[in-house]
Structure formats: structure tokens, C-alpha cells
């Protein structure tokens, strides 16, 4: 990823810094603002993500509010939403002035975040359907939210009813069957017949839905501490 400026032939020999390097080495520099904006667009089209670079840009917008592009900010927020369960969305909001957050598109995004944060997947998908223009602009959005939904379900359930899963990931009927087949084959899901109420999906075991798997780290001692008592 180049600097986003025209580099004359003689300078093309030089190492061009990636945006990640710029953020690591010279983050408090208003000149990198265009690079960071381009990088947001790149993250959207290539389905990559960098919280550090986006926070850096939001900070620069804070320092120079006249240069803020609300379109870019909206894209950053959608990407942050896709990063759930990480708290990235709130981290970004902390850096966005209140009056900007009052604009329609941001209010919608905040509502969407609220639904996800409180497990209200049905309301989330309903609202997302009404705001296609915001969410369809970012490829991979649906899959990312579905992955988050599955993450929360896996923390919560050993066995989850089909209807609950369907509502959480917004897939029904034949598509859902295909989806389940895929996860049975690749993610260790098991399908079971529920007691007359429909299918049950057995989710993979982990320490959060199977407390007996919880490693009791409380009494483990780092090796360095033990070596200290030896002469």
C-alpha cells in the first residue's frame, strides 16, 4: 500500500511504508490522513480490518474536525460492528463528537449496535433490512454478524433449538439446512431431534458452555517465580 501520492520514478526505488507502519511509527501526523482514509476504503473492499489504523484516523478527525468525512466514519463504524464481540464499536464512538453522532446514519448504526449488544437479533435483522444502503455498502457484513451470533450462542448453549439459531443468524428453510450441513461437516456441530419441538443443534464444547472444561488457572504459578527460590 503506497502513500497514495504520485511518486516520481526516481523515488520508486525507496521503500514505501505500509499504512500499518505509518500508524506504528508516525501516528501523530496530519499528513497521513488521506492514506488512512484510503485504507478504510481498502478494508471495506478487500474485507480486511485494522482497528489501530481506524482509531488513528478518528483521532486525527478529533484534532481537525474540518477534515472529517462522515462517510468514512460511517464505514469505520460498520467495520467495527463487524468486529463484535470485540468492543471496537464503543471504542470508536468515544472518539466521535456528540453532534456527529446525532446524524441519522449514526443514530441507525448506534441502534443496530444496541440490538447486538443486548442479544436482540430479531430486532437487529429487521432494522438492518430497513437500512440496506448503509450495511450493503460493506461486503461481508452479514457473515460477520452471523459469526458473532454464533459466538454468543456458543458461549450460552450446549444445545440450542433450531428456531433460536435461525432467528439469530437470519437464515431459514432450505438455506438454513445447507448452513447446518456446512457446520456439521466443518465446525463440529451435531444435529439432534428435539422432544417433538423440532431440531436441536449441539454446539462445540468449550470452557464457557461446559464449565467442567474450565482450566483452573487460579493456582498455577509461573516458572520464573519458582526459579527465584532456587540458589
Amino acid at each position: 500500500m503506497g502513500r497514495g501520492r504520485e511518486t516520481p520514478k526516481s523515488q520508486q526505488q525507496q521503500v514505501s511504508y505500509t499504512v500499518e507502519q505509518l500508524v506504528a511509527v508516525n501516528p501523530y501526523n496530519p499528513d497521513i490522513l488521506p492514506d488512512l482514509e484510503n485504507y478504510v476504503n481498502e478494508q471495506v473492499s478487500l474485507q480486511t480490518y485494522s482497528l489501530d489504523a481506524n482509531l488513528c484516523l478518528l483521532r486525527l478527525y478529533q484534532f481537525e474536525p474540518d477534515r472529517m468525512s462522515t462517510q468514512i466514519v460511517a464505514r469505520i463504524l460498520v467495520k467495527a460492528l463487524m468486529a463484535m464481540p470485540a468492543p471496537d464499536f464503543s471504542l470508536c464512538l468515544f472518539l466521535i463528537p456528540e453532534r456527529v453522532q446525532m446524524e441519522e446514519q449514526f443514530k441507525t448504526l448506534i441502534v443496530l449496535s444496541h440490538y447486538l449488544e443486548t442479544g436482540r437479533f430479531r430486532q437487529f435483522w429487521d432494522e438492518a433490512a430497513k437500512s440496506r444502503h448503509i450495511v450493503e455498502a460493506v461486503p461481508g457484513f452479514e457473515q460477520a454478524i452471523q459469526a458473532f451470533a454464533i459466538h454468543v450462542l456458543t458461549l450460552t448453549y450446549q444445545k440450542v433449538p433450531r428456531t433460536v439459531l435461525a432467528e439469530a443468524i437470519n437464515i431459514e428453510g432450505l438455506s438454513l439446512d445447507k448452513f447446518l450441513e456446512h457446520h456439521v461437516a466443518n465446525s463440529g456441530w451435531i444435529l439432534e431431534k428435539g422432544h417433538g419441538k423440532g431440531q436441536l443443534i449441539i454446539l462445540p464444547r468449550n470452557e464457557f458452555n461446559h464449565p467442567e472444561l474450565k482450566k483452573n488457572a487460579a493456582d498455577s504459578i509461573p516458572l520464573e517465580h519458582v526459579t527465584r527460590i532456587f540458589p
Binding site: D52, L55, F94, E117, T118, V152, L155, E207, I229
Partner: protein, 526 residues
């Protein structure tokens, strides 16, 4: 610092001069009492002779005593007046001016002109240090105070700049003048100086190499025993904490914590060699974690710090930092109360700290966990009391009508924090029932909580989501005090057995016993 007298000098005042602050004491910047002549001469000599102990004594005690006795509410003599007692040494004058401004900010109210002059002084001082030509050894206390004061004056300037309503015509025109590139106390300058100190000192590499035994830094408390200078290294080190602090003031908690990573706060280090630095580090670390919903990390560190202060504050009673220590202590109790109300992991809190906490906030914590309107008011109150003084880093807006916007940043952080609290409203209900039942059907629990089943499912998922935090690398950690899993339509509550920490206990006893044996050996030889 509370004074309302912010007089403005015209732009024609010569650099460094101070006008009479209108308090009628007839301050004469050129009058140098004998005790001050002696003070600067001795301090200058000790610095040249690298006598760190003496420097520290003079810096901590003599400076305070003289300030108390002679300069209670006036500035110290101007640097021009004292410089010929110290060979007009350029670097000493920069150091003296730094102390001069610090004293001014503490006792009086700086004018805009003085704020700008102080910025210029920091620029000169840091540039000298960054050029690597400084050959002094200064006490860590002093070096910490420099970084701490630098960030404090930045914060103070942002607050000052944002209070447009009370500004005079003259002040506004002066501000406009400085709103170009490289204006005083601009956020880029502040951050870049801190960053430059970190980089130029190579402190991050030093700390890493120290872990492999290739460097000595912490072991010598940062001091250089091979004839060199500790100034750049230690300023670089403390700038790490400075960066954490500035990022918290901006509301960027993630980056703040990332900046702090090179310092291992589970161990002693140079940051614990100065109480002010220790407290500032832990206070901001804890606050950032609280805002990032990493409640367990926040609680752990607040607990350790509060215990430490409890045990050691008596030794700081005479120090000029004592009031600040007490203030931060109270603020951390408030933050601990908030953290424990959102994440009731009382096991993490040591007895002494817990009893202090109950005394100060026991009543309020009970009310906070009710999550009604009164509860939110208490969350608001404690947060507002304990939070950092957030800033708006952008340049002044001169649009008419002039408004005060110094509270904007704080209001945003408060609003988002309360929003988070509200999202966790229904979780304490879940906890109450989890403590009573080992298994319970969804329909029964929905009944007790007076919600329908689908709503209950969302509440339970919210509980799981909010109590399981995700770190930088995507690793999930449970902060939950009570936990459960659902099997179709049955909730199974997990037993959590409190574990006795045998390992730590044995290690400590072994070390103690060895100590006793060594002492006994020594006795026989005598």
C-alpha cells in the same frame, strides 16, 4: 489554581517578564533574596557534580520550604535575575524556568502569555534532551514531575481554550495569533514530544533487553552508574505513562493501553520508584480497562494500588504530593465501587480495601445494583467525580456566539458510559436467580423475572456477552462471578468453588524461611 484573576498582558511584554498579578504584594521579578541566591548556587553545583541525593533533597524539601516561606502567592524571581549566580548556564536556566512555571500553576493562575512561555520552555528543554547533549543525573521524582506537569499544563490549556465566553478581546486576538501551525500546546506537538522521548531514548528496546539480562535499567532505578546520564532514558520511560494519560484524556483507551504495554505492571519497576508515577499509571490503566469493559483487570489493579497506598501513605504526609495522593485514592475507590457494581467479583478485593470500600460506598453500591433511576444518578455522580479531565484537542472555534465547550468531551464519555450501564440493567436480576438455583427451566425463570421466554433468551445472551471480554488478540476471558449454560430449555448454573491459593503462600514461606536461616547463620559467625 482556582483564582479568577486571569489578567492579560498586551503582546508587547518582553519575553519572560511577569506582570503584577493584581494581588497588591508588589512582586518584583528582579529581587533575589539571599536564600534563593544560595539555593540556586547550591543546586547548580550539585547538578554539575552529579550528586543525585543532594539534588533530590534540595528539589523536594528546600524548594518547597522556600516556596512556602517566601513565595506563598507570588512567583519565584525571574530566571534573568538568578542566572548570573549559575554561570548563565543554559540548561540550568531551562530547568529553573520549568520549576518556576510549575510553582506558578500550583499557587497562582497563569495568564495566556505565561502559558505560551511555559510551552516554549518545554520545547527548548525537551529539544536539548533529545539532542542527547545532556550529561546530568537527576532524581526520578524531578523527571517524573516534568512529564506529569507537561501533560497537566496541556490539559489545563485545553480547558482554558474551550472557555470562550469569559475571554476578553485581547485574549481572543492573542489566541487567534497562535492558532497557526506550531501554536502553543497544540495536540500534535504534545504527542510528538512524548513519542520522540520514547523513541530517542530507545527505552522500549532497553526494557525488552532487560528481560533477557542484556541491559540494566530497573535494577539501577534508571540511574546510570557508568558515568552517563539518566535524563533521556528516564524521561522516555515516564513518557510512556504520559502517552497513556494523554490518550485517556482524548477518550482513546485502546491506544493508551497499547502505549503502556512495554511496562510490566505486574512487577515493580521504575514507575513504582515515584509514588506519583505509580498512582497515575494504575489509575489510568484501571480507568481505561473499565471503559473497555475489562472489569476484572480494572478491579485487580485498583485493589493492589489502594492496598499499597493504605500501607504507605503515612510516609508521604510531608511531601508536596500528599494531597494529590489522597485525591487519587478517593477517586480510585469510586472507580472500584463502579467496577464492582458492574462486575461483582468481591473475591478479588483484599480485606482492608474492602472494608474501606464498604465504609465509603457500601450504601451507594447497594443502590447502584438496583439499576433504577436512582442507581443511574449514582453511577453518574461517581463517574463524574472520578473520571479524568477529558479534553477537546482541536483548535478554538471563534464562531459567534462564543460558547464554552470545555465540558463537551466529558459529557460524551459520561453519556456513553451510562449507556453501557443501562445495557447491563437486567443482568443483576439474572445474577440473583443464578445464586439460588442450580437448574431452572427457561419458562420458570421467565415467569419470575416477569418477561416472556424469547426476551429471557436475549437477556441471558446479553449476560454472556457482557461478562466475557475479548482482548487484543481475540482471546475470550470470562469476568462472570456466576455462570451458566443452557441445554435446550433448561438453565444449568455452574458451581464456582473458591480456590485457595496454595502456590503463592508456599513460595512466600520458603523465601521467608531462607531469610531466617541466613540471619541465623550470620549470628553464629559473630
Amino acid at each position: 489554581m482556582a483564582g479568577n484573576y486571569e489578567y492579560e498582558d498586551g503582546p508587547t511584554t518582553e519575553g519572560g517578564a511577569v506582570n503584577d498579578n493584581g494581588n497588591g504584594t508588589g512582586y518584583d521579578p528582579n529581587f533575589v533574596p539571599d536564600s534563593v541566591k544560595s539555593f540556586v548556587a547550591h543546586l547548580y553545583r550539585h547538578i554539575r557534580e552529579k550528586n543525585v541525593y543532594e539534588i533530590h533533597q534540595m528539589y523536594e524539601s528546600s524548594f518547597q520550604t522556600l516556596s512556602e516561606r517566601l513565595f506563598k502567592d507570588t512567583p519565584w524571581p525571574s530566571v534573568e535575575a538568578v542566572s548570573h549566580y549559575v554561570d548563565n548556564d543554559h540548561v540550568f536556566c531551562l530547568l529553573y524556568r520549568e520549576m518556576w512555571f510549575r510553582h506558578l500553576y500550583a499557587r497562582l493562575s497563569p495568564t495566556l502569555r505565561q502559558r505560551i512561555d511555559s510551552w516554549d520552555n518545554y520545547c527548548s528543554l525537551f529539544q536539548v534532551v533529545l539532542h542527547g547533549v545532556v550529561n546530568m543525573q537527576l532524581p526520578n521524582q524531578w523527571l517524573w514531575d516534568m512529564v506529569d506537569e507537561f501533560v497537566y499544563q496541556f490539559q489545563s490549556f485545553c480547558q482554558y481554550r474551550a472557555k470562550m465566553k469569559s475571554k476578553s478581546e485581547l485574549e481572543i486576538s492573542l489566541l487567534k495569533q497562535f492558532d497557526q501551525a506550531n501554536y502553543a500546546w497544540n495536540v500534535y506537538g504534545v504527542l510528538n514530544f512524548l513519542q520522540a522521548l520514547v523513541e530517542k531514548s530507545a527505552i522500549i528496546q532497553i526494557l525488552e533487553q532487560e528481560k533477557e539480562g542484556l541491559e540494566q535499567f530497573t535494577a539501577t532505578d534508571g540511574y546510570d552508574y557508568s558515568g552517563g546520564s539518566n535524563v533521556l532514558k528516564v524521561l522516555g520511560y515516564f513518557s510512556i505513562v504520559g502517552l497513556l494519560r494523554v490518550h485517556c484524556l482524548l477518550g482513546d483507551y485502546q491506544t493508551g493501553l497499547k502505549c503502556l504495554l512495554p511496562i510490566d505492571i505486574t512487577q515493580q519497576g521504575v514507575y513504582t520508584s515515584v509514588i506519583g508515577s505509580h498512582i497515575t499509571t494504575i489509575y489510568h490503566y484501571g480507568f481505561a480497562n473499565l471503559m473497555m469493559r475489562r472489569y476484572v483487570d480494572a478491579i485487580r489493579e485498583f485493589n493492589k494500588m489502594l492496598l499499597y497506598i493504605y500501607k504507605t501513605k503515612q510516609y508521604h504526609q510531608k511531601s508536596p504530593q500528599y494531597e494529590q495522593i489522597l485525591k487519587k485514592n478517593e477517586q480510585m475507590y469510586a472507580l472500584l465501587a463502579i467496577s464492582l457494581s458492574l462486575c461483582p467479583q468481591v473475591k478479588l478485593v483484599e480485606e482492608t480495601v474492602n472494608s474501606q470500600l464498604r465504609e465509603k460506598y457500601g450504601e451507594k453500591m447497594i443502590r447502584m445494583q438496583r439499576y433504577d433511576d436512582e442507581a443511574f444518578a449514582i453511577y453518574d455522580e461517581l463517574f463524574s467525580y472520578a473520571c479524568p479531565k477529558f479534553i477537546t484537542p482541536s483548535a478554538s472555534s471563534f464562531d459567534e456566539p462564543l460558547v464554552n465547550y470545555n465540558q463537551d468531551a466529558y459529557r460524551l464519555q459520561l453519556k456513553l458510559f451510562l449507556y453501557e450501564v443501562k445495557q447491563q440493567q437486567l443482568l443483576s436480576g439474572v445474577r440473583t436467580f443464578m445464586k439460588v438455583y442450580s437448574t431452572i427451566s427457561l419458562s420458570k425463570l421467565a415467569n419470575y423475572m416477569e418477561v416472556d421466554e424469547p426476551t429471557l433468551r436475549t437477556i441471558l445472551m446479553t449476560y454472556k456477552h457482557k461478562t466475557h471480554s475479548v482482548d487484543f488478540e481475540g482471546k475470550v476471558t470470562s469476568n462472570a462471578d456466576v455462570d451458566f449454560y443452557i441445554d435446550d430449555d433448561m438453565i444449568h448454573v455452574s458451581e464456582s468453588k473458591p480456590v485457595k491459593q496454595y502456590g503463592d503462600y508456599f513460595l512466600r514461606q520458603i523465601v521467608k524461611l531462607e531469610g531466617v536461616i541466613n540471619d541465623m547463620d550470620r549470628v553464629k559467625l559473630e
